[in-house]
Amino acid sequence: MRFRLVIILSLLLASSALSSANPGGEGDEIRSMECGGSCHGDPGQNGISSASIELEISDEVWSGLLTTITIHVNGSNPSESRLVGAFLLTNDQGAKDTPAHDGWQIIADPNGGLSNYVEMESSRGSDSLSFTWTLRAPQGGQHSLMAAIHHGSDSGGIAFIGKSPLSQISVVDPPENLPRLSGDFSPPANRDIGEQLTITLETENVDSFIVEYRLEGGTPIDLAVKDGKFTLPVAVNAGVIEWRALLEGEGPDQTTPWFRVVTQEDGWQVDEPTLFLQGFALLILGAGLVLLQRPTSDDENLKKYDQTPAFSTGELNNPSPLPPIPVTGLPAGWNMEQWQHYGQQYLDDLVRGGSI
């Protein structure tokens, strides 16, 4: 038995794989490099990713205005879940490295949120991903940005990290008369399926503008603008639509970056009060069923200690029948109680010719 147990335990241990990766991902969030060691078990045991990581951003951007940055990741060869996590960082020190630490403001992340770490699934066919952020540039000066990625491996044993080199970006103050989007304007980053999104463009130093949109990477199409408003086509399924504005005014004409509007499929939804009510009902029912369960052990215990067949109470209550008393009467010195118990033995001895 013990030998079998050892064999089973050994097989179980042998079948497990030591992995520091997290194939389910960690979710989009504001994170420092390597999540401070919390995403992959031990950063010291991570492998170096063979993926190519490139940053696409203008060398020069206007201070306080919107710009986009794209991280291109190719050949990551991630785990079975195909998840690749990408960080947008300002340095590789592992602390105080989020864009906000250097004055960048995230307007939209690749998934339509406000995180500097996002996860996306890499397709099996191309194994390439592009992560695009919309940022508001910080104050003028030299700034740096870099990308880092996290992913698992096919075998699932090792977690991988990858980093891009630091990219230097000159942030310069825009000319006063530069046609621009208003400082208060934040482009919407996501919408629901079936939603027709109307955007009111807020501008400064702009005499006129035109807007065009495209499906991700497609050919630009002009949009009708009326009273500074334009409407993006209805989203019929999940995907990304991009739009940009061409601004004309006194200063040099400007073209905004492509702003992404992400449409995601409705997540799984449940009527939470109904679920909580059912959970509570199951709790009460479970407790009630257990409490009302009649113990079978009472009868079984009684049977265990029941010695009826071995020890008949009838024998106790009904003493043996009185042997016939000889015509000469009871033997000398005997009383009736003695006769009752030993009388039959006395008679048997008499029959055998013995004497008491």
Binding site: N22, P23, G24, G25, E26, G27, D28, E29, S38, S81, L83, G267, W268, Q269, V270, D271, E272, P273, T274, L275, F276, L277, Q278, G279, F280, A281, L282, L283, I284, L285, G286, A287, G288, L289, V290, L291, L292, Q293, P295, T296, S297, D298, E300, N301
Partner: protein, 176 residues
């Protein structure tokens, strides 16, 4: 500063460890083997697991990405853990009332442990995307309509009240 995720791991290990101990002790009770203290160990471990469960739930809710119950795995975790909690509470109350530990009692204890283990496994699948229980239909949530839940709730309350009355009658009889 400790993140909710780390705290959740700690509290989950407390719950799973306590329930695992309870489950093994209940198994010993069912087999009628092991130390005499197995009954006490089973029920006290069950109680310990129940006490740690709220901490695990709170830290789990804080650690989970997104808002609310937006995943069928989370919904199933809720239903399984609530059922296990109900069974465990019933077992502990019954034990404190002095009921004998028969095989059905021990079997229910093992079922409660199994439900908690399944809950923990689903949690692992939710966070890590891996599971040994790949054969379970965890993406399907058996959600009753409200009226059905209310009927179940009333039924459960009736059972509890009835068992309490029976217990008091029995206790009164044994005293007299």
């Amino acid at each position: 500063m400790i993140s909710s995720g780390t705290l959740h791991v700690i509290s989950t290990e407390l719950v799973v460890g306590m329930f695992a101990l309870a489950g093994i002790s209940f198994l010993m009770c069912a087999l009628d083997k092991g130390p005499e203290a197995r009954e006490s160990i089973a029920h006290w471990a069950l109680l310990g697991g129940l006490l740690a469960t709220p901490l695990a739930i709170i830290t789990g809710v804080n650690a989970a990405p997104g808002d609310g119950l937006d995943n069928p795995l989370l919904a199933n975790k809720l239903l399984l853990s609530m059922t296990a909690t109900g069974l465990s509470l019933g077992l502990i109350i019954k034990w404190k009332r002095g009921a004998a530990i028969d095989r059905i009692h021990a079997g229910i204890g093992m079922i409660a442990t199994g439900l908690i283990m399944t809950t923990a496994s689903i949690g692992g699948e939710f966070s890590r995307g891996e599971t040994l229980l790949f054969f379970l239909p965890k993406e399907i949530v058996f959600l009753f309509p409200k009226w059905a839940s209310i009927i179940i709730l009333i039924l459960g309350l009736i059972l509890i009240v009835k068992s309490t009355i029976q217990h008091r009658v029995r206790a009164g009889t044994s005293i007299s």
